[in-house]
């Protein structure tokens, strides 16, 4: 279980749906389902090569209730928007296969 007191943040999942003229997904991200509560823990950052230069990639561990993720059909290809900041989801883990807590590794490119 995950205590309600730890779920300090509100997250909104977003998905790319539209395809452009070249068959790639467009930049348009649309909201997915309803927002849900999450916990966010900073697990470090690293500067790395990005688009011909260097950017800071900040990693967080994001905990959410299994039901929130299932209801909103959140996948690793989606984004999470938390406090107007956009995060890429790089992994999702169903803790102990208990269907209670989903732990996601999410990244913000600064």
């Amino acid at each position: 279980m995950i205590g309600a007191g730890r779920l300090r943040f509100t997250a909104q999942a977003q998905r790319q749906n539209a395809i452009d003229a070249l068959g790639n997904k467009t930049k348009a991200w649309t909201n997915l389902g309803s927002s849900f509560r999450v916990d966010l823990r900073d697990i470090g950052s690293q500067e790395q090569e990005y688009a011909g230069g260097t950017n800071l990639v900040q990693q967080y561990e994001c905990l959410a209730r299994y039901g929130s993720i299932e209801k909103n059909d959140v996948k690793t290809s989606d984004h999470l928007v938390i406090d107007s900041r956009t995060f890429n989801i790089s992994s999702m883990r169903n803790e102990a296969e208990r269907n209670q807590v989903i732990t996601m590794t999410i990244e913000e490119i600064v």
Binding site: N24, Y50, A51, G53, I89, I106
Partner: protein, 133 residues
């Protein structure tokens, strides 16, 4: 007077800018600069046997310009806007007489940082023919 400055001046002066002035740089994209961005470099400089004096001699430089943007469509658009800025003239005391576009291609993006696709990169390779005044 340098070819690098001349190439950058060509892309950052006048109207119909393909990207923001601060997003055009030599060798590496400046950190914290938002996309789209252009990174350029020269791969070859050759002095042709046309002209006599040192200032008169025609030179040829092969310039590679990489365009970074979010999608392939965006890269195509910015790439064409960049080529439209290839206007012969005097830049940083170099007289650029002609520019020949050799290729304009889109490369595959990498797929890390939890994204299906990172920003796309397009590469324009062009020969610049110029004289030093």
């Amino acid at each position: 007077m340098s070819l690098y400055t001349a190439v950058r001046n060509m892309l950052t002066t006048g109207t119909a800018m393909p990207v923001a002035v601060g997003a055009v740089s030599l060798g590496v994209r400046t950190q914290t600069v938002a996309l789209p961005a252009i990174v350029f470099n020269t791969t070859e400089i050759e002095t042709l046997s046309i002209g006599t004096g040192s200032g008169d001699q025609l030179k040829r430089a092969t310039v590679s310009l990489k365009v970074y943007h979010d999608t392939a469509v965006d890269v195509t658009t910015v790439g064409l806007a960049t080529i439209a800025k290839f206007i012969p003239g005097t830049y940083d005391s170099l007289v650029i007489q002609a520019i020949v576009v050799l290729s304009n291609s889109i490369q595959e993006p990498s797929s890390d940082n939890g994204e299906e696709t990172n920003p796309f990169v397009g590469e324009i390779i062009a020969d610049y023919y110029y004289k030093e005044t």
